[in-house]
Symmetry: C2
Subunit: 225 residues, 2 copies
């Protein structure tokens, strides 16, 4: 016979699973970009294994949330916490997908001569990875200030993306043999930008959860019905 | 005094709002690509207005779902229907964002000489738009076959995207003055691809909802815990 657990215990289990998933997603971003910078193929297998774990966790977390909604009938804050967890879950899974996209582009680039030493792409990756980490920490600790700091960093990511685009455009215009490689690098920077967007989604959910205020789309209270 | 409504009525209201949101998203895709093909700026304002409506609907739908979860304590199928609605809501909002991205690229391209007559991009847009429509219809009618037909079409979108990429690469390699325009068109095709991905997410959710079978990541029952 199993002793019925208290909702708090279930919520702790949910937090734990989300944290594991987030650290897997962070590791995937890190390794995908490392393989690109170091021209090192050995990370591919590890990243694919991590993706597999992330995919299993996504389903587990979704099912856990549904079970909690159905069996525990949580109210108010707990309810909102669980529905936020479901959204964060989707965002983390997409982040994993984007890391896979990056490593697939790395696979192409590794076979080509190096276009230029990569400086801004690893910086962008560090930023994106930290945004993912902090958005999850903000969720677990219900820390709206930390969540807001994630939102601010989205502009830095965008600036880096634009800088990378301009630099690679110069390469392409001066030497057409660089075009295929430059295109791949531009797309890598877009994937990193989207990782930042997903972290931003999570941070917006955290602010909503903590303050009960929906900051998506910057819609002011008075405009809402 | 208000008479408490039956859950079915609330669910119908939810369906209605999602259908309105989906048709706005479809219209945004259509007009964004039309402005690109016809080199016509007059669609910009309309698409921005539709985005504003989509953003308001996202919040309304989210709040309606939370209210239903909290006050009606739905069980089994209804519970899953509501949590699916929340996910579909996020996907539709992202589709609107992507239409905005397309129209922003159109704004740049309209000021440039036409690179080539656009054939594949409007085909891709038609496909993506139909996928959005059918994934929503599949949800409303709980039609798993229609949802599966959406999944199949994702490969067609990918093929078109690859074809567009190859063609534009040829342009860039033969005439470097085409590079900035070709890059923008490549990114438009990526936005359309992502719209197809979001429709695919919705279709996968529908199959899960109807068959209770999770087809994400093709993970078989025996592998799951």
């Amino acid at each position: 016979m199993t002793i019925p657990r208290h909702l708090d215990e279930d919520l702790n289990l949910l937090k734990e699973k989300l944290l594991i998933m987030a650290s897997l997603a962070e590791s995937m971003i890190h390794k995908a970009v490392k393989s690109l910078v170091e021209k090192e193929e050995s990370y591919f297998k590890q990243v694919k294994e991590e993706e597999n774990k992330v995919n299993h966790l996504e389903i587990e977390i979704d099912e856990l949330c549904l079970k909690l909604l159905a069996l525990k009938q949580p109210m108010a804050t707990d309810l909102r916490f669980i529905t936020s967890a479901m959204k964060i879950n989707s965002n983390l899974e997409r982040i994993g997908d984007l890391a896979i996209n990056i490593i697939e582009r790395a696979a192409f680039l590794l076979k080509q001569p190096q276009l230029k030493p990569l400086i801004d792409i690893p910086r962008m990756a560090d930023l994106a990875q930290k945004m993912v980490k902090d958005s999850l920490d903000a969720f677990i600790k219900k820390d709206a200030d930390l969540a807001r700091s994630v939102l601010k960093r989205d502009d830095e990511i965008d600036d880096l993306k634009n800088q990378i685009f301009r630099e690679l455009l110069t390469f392409m215009l001066s030497d057409q043999s660089t075009i295929p490689r430059a295109l791949e690098l531009i797309l890598v920077s877009r994937h990193l930008e989207r990782i930042g967007d997903h972290a931003t989604n999570i941070a917006e959910d955290v602010i909503y959860l903590v303050q009960g205020k929906d900051i998506r789309h910057h819609i002011e209270e008075e405009n809402r019905n």
